[in-house]
Symmetry: C2
Subunit: 106 residues, 2 copies
């Protein structure tokens, strides 16, 4: 049981919102870790972010509301995946260029 | 006569600042028009931006302070050029992916 949290459709995704979402190093870390295996669903606590819970939640919400990640609310945890097909359809090459521009994340 | 306005070195450029600078449609329009001919130097008034002068100045300053454009102050006008070699060295493919993600600008 669970629910997908609200998100923009592919057509509703805006480059303004995506670039703003990716202009933060915590959020780029999340994207880079998801991009390393696009089939994976990761919990918000699995990214090694040294942030208070409320702050962490804020970052995931910004990514979801921009259309970068999709979130499944499983009740006791949220599972995150990268919207790689939607990103590639709307902004080809963009998330790859951004992920590649930073040192490899362990 | 004139002066180059202050700007970050290539090493000082940050992905945070570049992505934040490019998260605005006016600033992406400037970058797209400069990217169409990277040899050109264009005045701030030549981009067809429907903005008050102070607002226009703000956008060019954000681009310059992020390292995206270089500005030559010729006294009666500022000339702008894209720092294409620096962008490509630091963030390969990034500005091209961003420019390509939007409808062609006339």
């Amino acid at each position: 049981m669970g629910d997908w949290l609200p998100e923009p459709t592919r057509a509703q995704m805006s480059l303004d919102a995506v670039l703003h979402a990716l202009s933060d190093p915590h959020r780029r870390r999340i994207v880079a870790m998801l991009a390393a295996d696009v089939e994976q669903r990761r919990t918000c606590t699995s990214f090694g972010l040294t942030l208070a819970k409320s702050n962490r939640t804020h970052h995931f919400r910004m990514l979801r509301e921009a259309g970068v990640v999709r979130q499944w609310d499983a009740g006791n945890a949220k599972l995150n995946l990268l919207r790689v097909d939607d990103l590639e359809a709307r902004f080809p090459g963009l998330h790859q260029a951004i992920v590649a521009a930073e040192p490899r994340i362990a």
